[in-house]
């Protein structure tokens, strides 16, 4: 007998059951497929380089921070002393104004300076031309550039004559000698590479305690493990500490694989989401197993006949598993389609700054995952009902007039166990979602210390040769502010270097009179340089003292503003106004600046910033900057000012690009991307789990009611009141619910301990969360049990008993 044909016929015979089963599976498998497609794209898919597992990123660490950039002299020693790397390079990301290309407005491009062997580390050859050699990568060497495939496409329309062409990057001409292939995207989103050693002779680079934004890139020798490499590099770092105690007393080294370096931060969140979606599928499987078991009981006569005709147990199991497999494959197919439709929605929820999230697609691996999941699912939900049904009693078939359904011994208990498991799993998932939701709500409600709404931001990087003279910078800044004030709807405008969410500059400092710290232990602060109207523009109140004044230029006494954290930490119980501070790189640490104001501490990297440095603000008129951020507070939609803003900058300097024009709110929202993804998906999946569990509970209660129709008829005929019947049925369902709740509680509490690190300011032992979740679940369970209980209580005993 063709099992497949019989299976299809059986499923077509009960279209209602088949549709419900396929849809349930499609939701479960589709959700798993969608999440796996993200995990595949982000965590599993290897980087497109030869032997990508051998490429590692090296960073240093100090007493305060686990990861800091690499000191150039340390890199030179690493390169000389190590035996584990085939190649060891360093790179630093920078940005450049690309201008002078005919027919194109100036634009900002992301670039990197790299040592010549960087390309050997990555392992890719250029698709056109060549990369620079060790001989060319030296101080005083030729100004050369290797460009990326996207830049070649966008700016040069894939013209091969780009080779040999001199292109203006950041005001200096570089000769393009090569074009990398489309697979090359390291460091992230870089579009042009320049030789690094041109800069290596600068005095600051030769200082071992200077960590100028360099990252080490190494290709491990064949057969060398990451652990071996880590051990050797740590030994070298220890040797450097002994040789150079002033600069390297607390300096360590960390190695991570390139892939882990790029996406490791997402691993925990994605794993939690995958676990959540797997729980949804488990609940779906439990529901289907119950449905199939009920169907199997209804088909007991068929199986009894088959046994009487010689079927072995395995033959019956095989027939039923074929039916399950057909259901699962159809569900898998539809689930795959759901995942394909939902792909764009899912990617829109993902962190926008990671290219790998955006590369999510349903490739062969995802297809294979879906297929295997469908097969595994068919066994998961099909095996138990098939096994139960295969224990058919052949005597039943031989008995004259035997029809209808029967419950195999233990089947009811198994059905109830599945419901208990469903309730428990749903509670675990709902509690997890509630914790994450609370964490996200706390994050959102947290004050940043400034108001990101209605604030437009844009970057302008003034190129150094043209704006080398500080007077020119001041003239440009003043003219820019003057013109921006005329914009319609404008409330306030300011210029800044390193405002919140666009920062990354730390510097050492020392309050006047404080003892000189040991080498490498100088305190650091987040630095920003701001124009006089900065604080009113970002709506940060001044807590003490005053703001910067328009007449406080270089000729005025040097001043600064600090945040409350600095005041509390370094001037406890004192008035910080009038105190003096020395900044490490400010006039080589010789200049003392006087504190004139105190502002609140701001969140400058994100809501969930746990440990933060104190903040120092310098007046722009005393410290003119080439890298400017324009901040516009407006009563109009912020994005509507973009064109006017570009026009104003172009009217002052037509060669000057304006880039990263975005509302501050969108920059803030970007830092929520991962928690938002987690919250949205966990809420959706726990909602789905709740619905499935309630449907499952309802299904079992309804089936029990049907099975006990005759018994209920007899009870009613014997004088039972309808309320007593309803209560009897309700008790049965609620008993299962309470047991499931108890087990779920235990699971939820264990899980909450595990995921504590993913939560922000949430007390995982707060009983209110679990109580609220239980109430939601209890309400749904009550409805699920009440409807079949009420139906059972309405049975007409006369009709029921006559039918029997």
């Amino acid at each position: 007998m063709n099992h497949l044909r019989v299976a299809l016929r059986q499923l077509l015979k009960s279209p209602g059951f088949t549709i419900v089963a396929i849809l349930t599976l499609a939701l479960g498998i589709g959700a798993n497929t969608a999440i796996f497609s993200v995990i595949n794209a982000v965590l599993l898919r290897p980087l497109p380089y030869p032997d990508p597992d051998r490429v590692v990123i090296l960073q240093e660490s100090d007493a305060d921070q686990p990861n800091i950039s690499v000191s150039f002299p340390d890199y030179v020693d690493w390169k000389k002393d190590n035996h584990v790397f085939e190649q060891l390079a360093v790179a630093r990301r920078e940005s450049y104004n690309l201008s002078g290309v005919k027919g194109r407005a100036p634009e900002q491009v992301s670039g990197a300076i790299v040592t010549a062997n960087f390309f050997k580390v990555v392992g890719l050859a250029p698709q056109l031309g060549r990369v620079f050699t060790e001989e060319e990568d030296r101080a005083g060497g030729p100004a050369l550039a290797v460009i990326s495939d996207p830049l070649w496409q966008r700016v040069f329309q894939r013209d091969p004559r780009v080779l040999g062409r001199a292109v203006n990057f950041g005001g200096q001409f570089y000769t393009v000698i090569g074009v990398m292939g489309p697979r090359m995207f390291s460091p992230r989103t870089v579009e042009v590479w320049f030789p690094l050693m041109h800069r290596a002779t600068g005095t600051s680079w030769t200082m071992r305690d200077n960590h100028p934004g360099l990252f080490g890139w190494g290709r491990l020798k064949k057969g060398v493990s990451l652990e071996d490499a880590n051990a050797e590099m740590k030994a070298i770092a220890a040797r450097l500490t002994q040789l150079y105690p002033e600069s390297n007393s607390k300096i360590g080294v960390n190695l991570t694989r390139l892939l882990e370096n790029q996406v490791g931060e997402y691993r925990a969140s994605l794993t939690l989401i995958l676990a959540a979606v797997a729980v949804v599928l488990l609940i779906a499987c439990a529901n289907l197993a119950n449905l199939l078991a009920a169907r199997g009981a209804a088909r007991s006569r068929e199986f009894a006949i088959r046994v009487a005709l010689g079927a072995t147990r395995w033959q019956i199991v095989r027939q039923l598993l074929t039916e399950s497999l057909v259901l699962a494959l159809l569900g898998g197919l539809l689930g795959f389609a759901f995942a394909a439709w939902g792909r764009d929605l899912l990617v829109a929820l993902c962190p926008p700054d990671s290219k790998r999230f955006q590369e999510t697609n349903l490739d062969g691996w995802v297809m294979m995952f879906t297929g295997l999941l469908a097969i595994a699912t068919s066994v998961l939900f099909g095996l138990w009902p098939a096994w139960t049904a295969s224990r058919a009693d052949a005597q039943l078939a031989l008995k004259s007039g035997a029809h209808g359904s029967s419950d195999a011994p233990g089947a009811r208990r198994s059905r109830e166990l599945l419901i208990v498991a469903e309730v428990a799993l749903a509670l675990v998932l709902l509690s997890t979602a509630a914790l994450v939701l609370q964490s996200f709500a706390k994050t959102m409600a947290l004050s940043l210390g400034f108001e990101p709404q209605q604030l437009l931001t844009a970057r302008v990087d003034l190129p150094s040769p043209a704006y080398e003279d500080e007077k020119k910078l001041v003239v440009f800044s003043n003219a820019l502010l003057g013109k921006l004030h005329q914009l319609p709807g404008l409330e306030k405008v300011a210029l800044a270097a390193n405002p919140p969410f666009m920062t990354g500059w730390q510097d050492g400092f020392l309050p006047e009179g404080a003892p000189e710290p040991p080498p490498g232990r100088q305190p650091s602060a987040e630095m920003a340089v701001v124009s006089p109207d900065y604080f009113p523009t970002i709506q940060t109140p001044l807590l003490r003292g005053r703001s910067f004044q328009p007449n406080e230029t270089k000729s005025a006494p040097p001043i600064l503003i600090v945040d409350q954290l600095m005041a509390d930490r370094y001037f406890p119980g004192q008035d910080p106004i009038g105190k003096r501070i020395r900044i490490q790189t400010d006039d080589s640490g010789r200049k003392m600046r006087t504190i004139v104001g105190v502002v609140p501490h701001l969140k400058v990297y994100g809501f969930d910033e746990q440990t933060s440095l104190p903040q120092i603000y310098l007046p722009m008129l005393q410290q003119p900057q080439t890298g400017l951020v324009i901040l516009l507070r407006t009563s109009l939609p912020p994005d509507s000012l973009e064109k006017s803003l570009r026009d104003i900058v172009a009217s002052l300097d037509p060669a000057q690009p304006v880039f990263e024009v975005r509302s501050m709110q969108s920059r803030v929202a970007e830092t929520w991307a991962t928690p938002r993804l987690m919250t949205t998906l966990l809420t959706a999946f726990s909602g789905l789990a709740l619905i499935l569990a309630v449907i499952g509970l309802y299904g079992v209660m309804a089936y029990n009611g049907l099975r006990r129709t005759r018994e209920i008829g007899v009870r009613l005929a014997l004088g039972a009141r309808r309320g007593q019947i309803a209560a009897m049925m309700l008790r049965q369902g609620l008993r299962l619910f309470v047991i499931g709740l108890g087990i779920g509680f235990a699971g939820a509490i264990v899980l909450s301990r595990v995921m504590r690190s993913l939560l922000f300011q949430v007390d995982v032992s707060n009983p209110v969360i679990y109580l609220a979740v239980s109430l939601v679940l209890a309400g749904a369970a009550l409805i699920a049990c009440w409807i079949p209980a009420r139906r059972a209580a309405r049975i007409n005993p006369m009709v029921t008993l006559r039918a029997e």
Binding site: E302, A308, G310, T312, Q395, A397, L398, K399, S400
Partner: protein, 225 residues
């Protein structure tokens, strides 16, 4: 004289009741059925007729005593061996036909073969032969619900003999049929018996029993005749 096809020695089937009490369904059954016999088991309701049939068909394993079938000591066999022997030697006919509703006549006949070690071509050939032999070729694509009661029982008997059993066990095979259909079925049984198949039927009908060569009367679990 050759060994009998079936021999039961001191077979008993007992259901335990509460507090060390027992209910005897079959008591000290001693029975021989020769190859080629056509035996009718009769008796009032509750006499143990169906239980005896289940026991002979190896659907029930909870009995005591000795049971020999074609020299095999069933009481000493493991469940798997009993199933294998049953598939080789026994065919069943039920009062309510018990055809599988979702399979066609052809597929219903194919089922017992699919559970045994027949090749695809052997199965096709045997089903074709059987359809021909029972003159139901024209109905091979019909479903059971499209057949009359008599036709359904005809298919049921065809299904019982398709795997060439030595023994047919029939439980009230004409119970749901009117008299002329019942007579046709009995004639068919007689013909099959003439071809060497041993038949044991449970029946309430004296007329049906008259088609066989031997009657066993059961009462309260005892063989009384």
């Amino acid at each position: 004289m050759s060994d009998p096809l079936i021999e039961l020695k001191h077979v008993e089937r007992v259901y335990p009741l509460a507090k060390q009490q027992f209910f005897y369904v079959l008591r000290d059954i001693n029975l021989k059925v020769e190859e080629g016999d056509f035996v009718s088991v009769m008796g009032p309701s509750g006499a143990g007729k169906s239980t005896l049939l289940h026991l002979l068909g190896m659907h029930d394993f909870g009995w005591t005593g000795e049971y020999f079938l074609s020299d095999a000591a069933i009481h000493q066999l493991k469940p798997k061996e009993r199933t294998s022997l049953r598939n080789e030697q026994i065919g069943f006919v039920f009062q309510n036909y018990n055809l599988l509703d979702d399979l066609t006549v052809y597929e219903n006949l194919d089922i017992p073969l699919s559970y045994r070690r027949y090749s695809k071509s052997e199965r096709t050939s045997l089903v074709a032969d059987t359809l021909d032999r029972f003159s139901i070729v024209g109905k091979k694509d019909l479903y059971p619900r499209q057949l009359s009661g008599g036709q359904q029982q005809l298919v049921s008997i065809a299904r019982a003999i398709i795997a060439k059993p030595k023994l047919i066990l029939a439980d009230e095979p004409t119970g749901n049929l009117h008299s002329s259909q019942a007579d046709d079925i009995m004639q068919l049984f007689k013909k099959l018996n003439g071809e060497g198949i041993t038949i044991i039927q449970v029946t309430h009908s004296e007329i049906n029993a008259a088609h066989g060569n031997r009657v066993i009367q059961l009462r309260d679990g005892w063989i009384v005749k």
